[in-house]
């Protein structure tokens, strides 16, 4: 229990260090430039303490519960013995034998995206701003599916050694086309959903998977092939959100016509 207390203090110290610059900037502009008191100051101060304490507790919990086992699982799932039986050599494994890696990559990144605090925040904002037309949970599930597909695809890319650039070129062409087809009001939110997904929970797990895979597959280097996983995880939610919005418009039209 004393170990937990130590890590809790550490987590709190880390979070406070990350928050101090933001606090200073907000305070300087609020009091020196705007020269206004914060409305409901006490409530905001209490909320700020909750944000910092909550984030610290969350990160300490992740370090204790999720990250160690996630890393071990990534190592075990990418080891040649697991993939092709005892005594297997990595060079003899064909790409489809990595199917457990692809499945795990898709499932775990989908799940961690749903637990991502920054995405929870954006979901709440979107529901509020759209007056309930965009609902937070379906939005987050759509984004999470996008991230899941992207991470599985990245694992496949590392196994076969396909160039990242090709994926980015095709992907952003799709983004451009969908931008023209999707309802106009969803586009800015779709773009934002790319950046918020890769955060506190998802990045450490996904990085461990990428590095594990790059060190198992012969001819891959951790430095050159491990990167790019995040780049695709930023791109796919944009495609998922605009695609889903376009699809629901099309389905809505059809059901109206049938009536």
């Amino acid at each position: 229990m004393s170990l937990l207390a130590t890590s809790l203090t550490q987590g709190l110290a880390e979070t406070v260090r990350a928050v101090v610059p933001i606090g200073v900037i907000l305070a300087v502009f609020q009091f020196a430039v705007l020269r206004r008191r914060v409305p409901h100051g006490r409530r905001v101060a209490a909320g700020a303490v909750m944000v910092v304490a909550g984030l610290a507790l969350f990160i300490v919990g992740l370090e204790a519960a999720l990250f160690p086992i996630g890393r071990t699982m990534a190592e075990q799932l990418t080891s040649p013995e697991f993939l092709a039986g005892p005594g297997a050599v990595a060079a003899d494994i064909s790409w489809w034998q990595y199917y457990w890696v692809f499945l795990f990559a898709a499932a775990i990144s989908l799940a961690t995206t749903l637990a991502e605090p920054a995405l929870i925040a954006v979901g709440l904002e979107a529901e509020d701003v759209s007056g309930g037309t965009v609902r937070a949970w379906p939005l987050r599930v759509t984004i999470a599916i996008g991230v899941g597909v992207s991470v599985a695809l990245s694992m496949w890319r590392i196994v076969v050694g396909a160039p990242l650039f090709a994926f980015l070129l095709v992907g952003y062409t799709v983004v451009a086309v969908l931008t023209m087809l999707a309802p106009r009001s969803i586009v800015p939110l779709a773009y934002d959903s790319g950046g918020v997904t890769t955060s506190t929970v998802t990045v450490p797990i996904v990085t461990a998977l990428g590095l594990g895979l790059a060190s198992t597959v012969p001819g891959r280097s951790e430095l050159e092939d491990g990167f790019g996983v995040i780049a695709l995880a930023v791109m796919f939610p944009m495609i998922a959100v605009m695609g889903y919005a376009r699809l629901s418009v099309a389905l809505g039209r059809r059901s109206r016509r049938q009536r």
């Binding site: 990350a18 933001i22 200073v24 900037i25 907000l26 300087v28 502009f29 705007l34 409901h40 905001v44 101060a45 209490a46 909320g47 909750m50 944000v51 304490a53 909550g54 984030l55 507790l57 969350f58 300490v60 919990g61 992740l62 204790a64 519960a65 999720l66 160690p68 086992i69 071990t72 699982m73 075990q76 799932l77 457990w100 795990f104 775990i108 799940a111 637990a115 605090p117 920054a118 925040a121 954006v122 709440l124 904002e125 990242l164 650039f165 106009r184 009001s185 586009v187 800015p188 773009y191 934002d192 918020v196 890769t198 955060s199 430095l223 050159e224 990167f227 790019g228 995040i230 930023v234």
Partner: protein
């Protein structure tokens, strides 16, 4: 209210627990190491996330929104831009994930024996490049909201430039550039910046929160890619 909030958090965290349990017990077929520690950690995760979301509603959303409204009422665009830049720069330069990426990149560069900036100097230069890029992105995003420019032209144009620069930049910079884009938008910055954009678009006449309020985070993920690619070409 607390019970409902905890229920929502349980729903948010349950998928992670389910995926880890299924793969550990059924696919890898091994028991959980340190089950007790894992359970205590999970309780902390649920409690922490519940607190965080409540705090968002009480503090970060009203704060970002309120400052946006006050700036709009004050009517000083230079101060608003200074605030936007400071917010982007200040939250990024101290971001632990970015410090990690920059140190890692500097180590890889020293090993490869490249010319030019080395070691700690390279890491610091990289961090400041990314922080300036995020500050610039938030400031440009605020100008966009004030002026009502459509976001899709900036984003698609920006990614087109990034893709065009990619073959010209050195390989190690390409890797860092595309990773930096995802790393910069941290858990506390996102709600604050989102609230800023939405608050501004609400208080400026003729702007819609859905069309103009969102987009700041997208810019903050795009601009580090551009800045780091150029940084890579300059530093060599």
């Amino acid at each position: 209210m607390a019970a409902r909030a905890t229920g929502e958090t349980l729903r948010d965290v349950a998928p992670v627990v389910a995926v880890v349990a299924v793969f550990q017990l059924l696919v890898i077929r091994e028991p959980f190491p340190e089950l007790g520690k894992t359970l205590v950690g999970l309780v902390a995760v649920v409690a922490g996330l519940t607190l965080f979301v409540q705090g968002l509603r009480l503090a970060l959303f009203p704060l970002g929104d309120g400052m946006a409204t006050s700036f709009a009422r004050k009517g000083s665009v230079p101060w608003l831009l200074a605030f936007a830049f400071a917010l982007g720069f200040g939250t990024t330069v101290a971001e632990p994930a970015l410090i990690g990426v920059a140190d890692e990149a500097a180590r890889a560069r020293d090993l490869s024996g490249a010319d030019g900036l080395r070691g700690g100097d390279y890491a610091v230069a990289l961090r400041y490049t990314v922080a300036v890029s995020v500050g610039t992105a938030i400031a440009v995003g605020v100008i966009r909201i004030v002026r009502g420019w459509p976001i899709h032209r900036i984003i698609i144009g920006g990614y087109a430039i990034a893709l065009a620069l990619t073959p010209l930049a050195p390989d190690d910079a390409v890797g860092i550039a595309y990773d930096a884009g995802g790393v910069t938008t941290s858990t506390i910055t996102v709600p604050l910046v989102a609230a800023l954009g939405i608050g501004l678009s609400r208080s400026i006449r003729g702007r819609s929160p859905m069309l103009d309020g969102f987009g700041l985070i997208a810019l903050a993920s795009l601009s580090p890619i551009l800045f780091v690619l150029v940084f890579g070409m300059v530093v060599g």
